[in-house]
């Protein structure tokens, strides 16, 4: 390999796009490391505290696309206090200095400020794409800066962010010269926008392929937009309420039927179900349907809609669909690869929910299914065993039984055997979430069979440290482990400390860890940050004694030591 000129190497590396592969390439020899780092344009950082921006830029000076993830996953469920960290500001400041060619920034679970957005918008001449997922800390003023200043903006994609909506004019801030938009998603914004400005924006951006509106955009505007956006592939409707006999409705139905290119449909954030037939003409073309934000559509209407969608590959829905509706999905959507069923009323009497019946029906009818997220009222071992037999191709299997620690209602047994069947059958399983009543046995199965498992989420499960040990000893490819409310303690935590260096992170809350155990771990593993989140730190019950139980521990490997922006209630041991 010494006789290959570097230009040739670089050309060859161009074909290697996956992060894992490029990381592997850089380890071969010094020359390859140099060539690779200078030609790397896209960098993915799974934990923003594993590295700091200065070192990143030093290694990859030509980075054009950066993906950063911040808070731990359980932050989504209010288990991480609000100001824990993950601020994007220092990253943006460093990028301004070191990477003027930055074009794309994708952030997940990070805190973003309006000032950061303003700085971003003014500093990168070629900036094209901003994707924010589950972020917070900014307002529509920050969006206005992006709209106004990023002259070649192609993508502004806001997913499930908590945005302070100042009901401003941000959409009006896109200049008349902005004609390069390909993707605009503002479904998560709460406030009204200027409808004429939106219509004009769509009219002058003929390459728009993805457009997701928020709930304040009415029916009439949707019709006007659809006539303008002829290349639309992904549509998220806003408000879908109108009288079905009105002229507006007929105009929309006509406009909709001309949208032959739409493959992905979502939204219906406010919906009058009698208006749904307006979308029937395009249903046969759909490969992706997300109705999980439409609590206004009941089971029967869902079923009617789905009967038209024979080509679905991805379906997200609320559990109004019921077992019966899932039977219809199984009969209709033979190409289905991904299914998510979300709960509508987890604490209610349980009339709008799904059970093992629905899942078994799906597994029998949708043989291509590989990704599942299923919130259900109950599950049986027999059901899971059948699912495992029918669908051996699961890559992601996430089951959440709403009542924690609920056993198999037929046999009153734990669900160990059912999940055991899943891990044994699905040899390609990479992500697993388990729930219901579970003993240490399920972990024995997971450790034994889940060889490709990378991410595992556990709640209210297990009997003893043995459970955690089975997992840590068995799952060689485990990268992310998150545990809550399980009887796992110091003994399991400390049994094989080197393991954590090969993982991105470990979260344990409401388990049996003590301060002393965590301190020991931190001492043995200087390459880890072991953070204790102590919400009582200002009070008398603050953690001082090594024997005290630690409520929340988050550890992650890092190249840059303890972080300097930790709030009072976080201590890095």
């Amino acid at each position: 390999m010494n006789y290959f000129p570097e230009e040739v190497l670089e050309h060859v590396f161009d074909f290697i796009t996956s992060h894992k592969d490029r990381n592997a390439v850089s380890l071969v020899c010094k020359t390859w490391y140099q060539v690779e780092r200078e030609s790397r344009y896209g960098v993915f950082i799974g934990n923003c505290y594993a590295i700091n921006p200065e070192r990143l830029i030093a290694r990859f000076p030509r980075v054009r696309s950066l993906t950063l993830k911040g808070k731990p996953h359980f932050a989504d469920f209010n288990l991480v206090p609000h100001d824990w960290g993950a601020f994007v500001d220092p990253w943006i400041k460093a990028l301004v200095k070191g990477c003027p060619d930055l074009e794309e920034l994708r952030l997940k679970r990070m805190v973003v400020s309006d000032d950061s957005l303003e700085l971003l918008s003014r500093s990168f001449v070629n900036f094209k794409s901003l994707v924010l997922v589950s972020c917070d800390g900014f307002s529509t003023d920050g969006l206005a800066a992006i709209a106004a200043n990023c002259r070649y903006l192609r993508e502004l994609d806001l997913q499930e962010n908590d945005v302070d909506d100042r009901r401003g004019h941000w959409i009006s801030c896109f200049p008349e010269t902005c004609t390069s938009l390909v993707s605009l998603n503002f479904a998560c914004l709460k406030g009204e926008i200027s409808l004429p400005a939106l219509e004009r924006l769509v009219a002058r951006n003929p390459n728009l392929r993805s457009l997701r509106l928020n709930h304040t955009v009415p029916f009439e505007t949707l019709k006007k937009i659809l006539t303008q956006a002829s290349k639309l592939v992904d549509l998220g409707t806003g408000c879908f309420v109108h009288h079905p006999k009105s002229e507006s409705y007929h105009k929309l139905k006509n406009a909709m039927s001309k949208c032959k290119s739409v493959r992905s449909l979502s939204g219906f954030l406010d919906v009058a179900p009698r208006c749904l037939p307006a979308v029937y003409p395009i249903c046969a073309n759909l490969t992706s349907l997300n109705l999980s934000y439409a609590p206004g559509i009941n089971g029967n209407e869902l079923i009617k809609l789905i009967r038209h969608c024979k080509n679905l590959r991805r379906l997200w829905t609320l559990d109004y669909i019921g077992d019966k509706g899932l039977g219809v999905v199984a009969a209709t959507c033979k190409e289905l690869e991904e299914l998510r069923v979300f709960p509508s009323d987890p604490f209610g009497p349980g009339n709008a929910a799904v059970t093992e019946e629905g899942l078994v029906a799906i597994s029998a009818g949708c043989r291509k299914l590989h990704s599942l997220l299923y919130f259900c009222q109950q599950m049986t071992n027999a059901g899971l065993i059948t699912v495992a037999k029918n669908c051996p191709n699961f890559i992601r299997f996430r089951l959440c039984i709403l009542d924690p620690k609920k056993p198999d209602p037929v046999t009153m047994q734990p669900l160990d055997e059912g999940f055991g069947a899943i891990v044994q059958s699905c040899k390609r399983l990479r992500r697993l979430s388990i729930s219901g009543m579970l003993s240490d046995q399920v972990f024995l199965y997971i450790g034994m069979y889940a060889e490709q498992l990378e991410m595992l989420s556990i709640a209210f499960a297990g009997d003893s440290d043995k459970g955690l040990l089975y997992v840590l000893n068995g799952c060689k490819k485990l990268r992310k482990l998150e545990i809550r409310d399980c009887p796992f303690g110091d003994m399991a935590l400390l049994m094989d400390v080197d393991k954590y260096e090969g993982m991105r992170s470990l979260w344990m809350s409401s388990c049996e860890l003590t301060l002393g155990g965590c301190k020991t771990l931190a001492r043995k593993m200087p390459m880890l940050n072991v953070e204790i989140i102590d919400e009582n730190s200002q009070r008398e019950s603050a953690l001082v004694d090594d024997r005290q139980r630690v409520e929340k521990m988050y550890l992650y490997r890092t190249l840059v030591g303890p972080r300097h922006d930790a709030p009072d209630f976080v201590s890095t041991l």
Partner: protein, 176 residues
Amino acid sequence: MAKMGVGLEITELRLGLPGGGSSCDGGEKKERKRVFSEINGGCNGSSAGGDRNMQAVGWPPVCSYRRKKTIGRGNDQAFRAYVKVSMDGVPFLRKIDIGSRDGYPALLAAFEELFGCFGIGEALEDADSSEYVPIYEDKDGDWMLVGDVPWKIFVESCKRLRIMKRPDTKLTNYNW
């Protein structure tokens, strides 16, 4: 002595985390369950059956964004509020479940279906522009224009509904 025993138990001081103490459902040995619920957006009063599922913080694992938008907001929620609806000139009344609608537009669309009063949706924006004006009687017995207060507050305070035809709105005496 037994009586004394019971009395003493109540005053017994114990160390433990809040919500702990006697074992919870499922034969749980450990004392560390969170038993309070802290769900964003509330459950709309549909707490019936709330003790079936243990309401722990962050359970079920649905992200807070999604929780606010979807949980307890659909057609099958336990909360039902059937109120009478009358329309001027129509000899009999109807009943409508305002608890199952998710907003004013849906409510007025329902009026249009029940009574054929097209255009009533305009009254939301401008009470003068529509031939029909929806009003409701609130808990205090006052007649209010529909649409001024947030939807959830309206649902809680609305006792009955009336659809007035334009000429009548000038009358100050609302006799049934």
